[in-house]
Symmetry: C2
Subunit: 196 residues, 2 copies
DNA sequence: AACATTCACAGACCGTCAGTCGGTTTGTCA
DNA sequence: TGACAAACCGACTGACGGTCTGTGAATGTT
């Protein structure tokens, strides 16, 4: 519908998500007040609470956008892989690159587990990264490279590994050296995990 | 000194840490108000702020205690290990057991990174779990089982893996089955990582 | 055209919470 | 016993998340 009211509402909502994404990324969830989002966006209190029932809902709106972007990048990185090892490697390296982005680091890695709780955080991953990883591992299992029984746990392990290495690199004093070191270690790790 | 005032102060402080530990574990850091700690402990506002400059300081006091307990358990679990693989295995399994404890799960795994920040969180681990793991990996490196260059990153990976598996088990619908599955996967994982 | 309805938006207001501050009590020591 | 310090008390403050009572513009109805 080219309804003018609806259009206006969607624009306001999108604007709020945009401003909130920036502020959450810069200051972290706790240190970002609703007041700050209001001031920065020029939207009124009532309007914000009309679109989002609360601060966590706003965060959820933000993280949906972030997760969507991550999903696109991962899809692009893995679509051409010829085998499971290559797919996993491409995916992990893509993730490591993504986490250099302060937005993704602060929102998706540091704040998300505390704000959403581990359960909902993993459910989010389930549709994104974790799904990709499990798919690649399943592929590897069918090729006889890992035990079928371990696919589920290994998928979690690979995801956690990726987060961790991404954070290491993001926080390192010398990011370039850390990136090289991290990529090398990730490669070696995956080779060993999948039995090269 | 058998000074009565000092004694009283230490008792109050210890009592606050005890109560705060329980509440933080039950409700999480954010959802636990200072007021609740006050009410539950019977200590006055001024007294609490006399012992702790702020809520994060109280959390820090709590997590020091938790980290101490974790350190003791890990030390006990690994002191008799004859080789690096056995040491790592013992350590990881001990961790997985620890993280079934809601106190450790909520405080040390879920809240700590967001409250302390990733940096200080890792510094804490550095003196505890991460140090243990790095030690075992160093040992493995000297035995030629892993590349010396990868010890640092691998230590982080193993720690992250441990946290993740612990959380998986803690959150599973069938904890007993998840524990068996997790232990099996961790064993397989370590065998592969260290080249059995 | 006149009226009713819906929906985005506005902002005064409220309860809660972390943190502050001046003052009091309790114990120590010269 | 009087000076001093450390522990403790609780009223108060300011900021913040969230609520509530509207208002006005666009849309639907007769």
């Amino acid at each position: 519908m080219a309804n003018k009211n609806v259009e206006r509402g969607q624009a306001t909502r999108a604007h709020l998500v945009e401003v909130a994404t920036r502020l959450f990324a810069e200051r972290g969830y706790d240190a970002t007040s609703i007041e700050a989002v209001l001031a920065e966006s020029g939207v009124s209190r009532g309007s914000l609470y009309h679109h989002f029932p609360g601060k966590d809902a706003l965060f959820w709106g933000v993280i949906e956008g972030v997760a969507g972007r991550v999903g696109q990048v991962l899809y692009a990185a893995t679509r051409d892989a010829q085998d499971p090892v290559a797919a996993l490697r491409a995916e992990c390296l893509a993730w490591v690159g993504l986490a250099s982005d302060p937005v993704i680091r602060q929102i998706a890695i540091i704040d998300a587990p505390a704000v959403l709780g581990w359960q909902r955080w993993r459910e989010l991953d389930e549709q994104g990264s974790l799904g990709f990883i499990r798919g690649a591992l399943q592929w590897a299992a069918e090729a006889g490279r890992v035990d079928q029984r371990h696919v589920g746990v290994f998928a979690h392990i690979v995801l956690a590994m990726t987060y961790e290495v991404a954070l290491m690199i993001a926080r390192a004093d010398d990011p370039a050296a850390a990136l090289a070191e991290g990529e090398s270690a990730v490669g070696e790790f995956l080779d060993r995990l999948l039995g090269s």
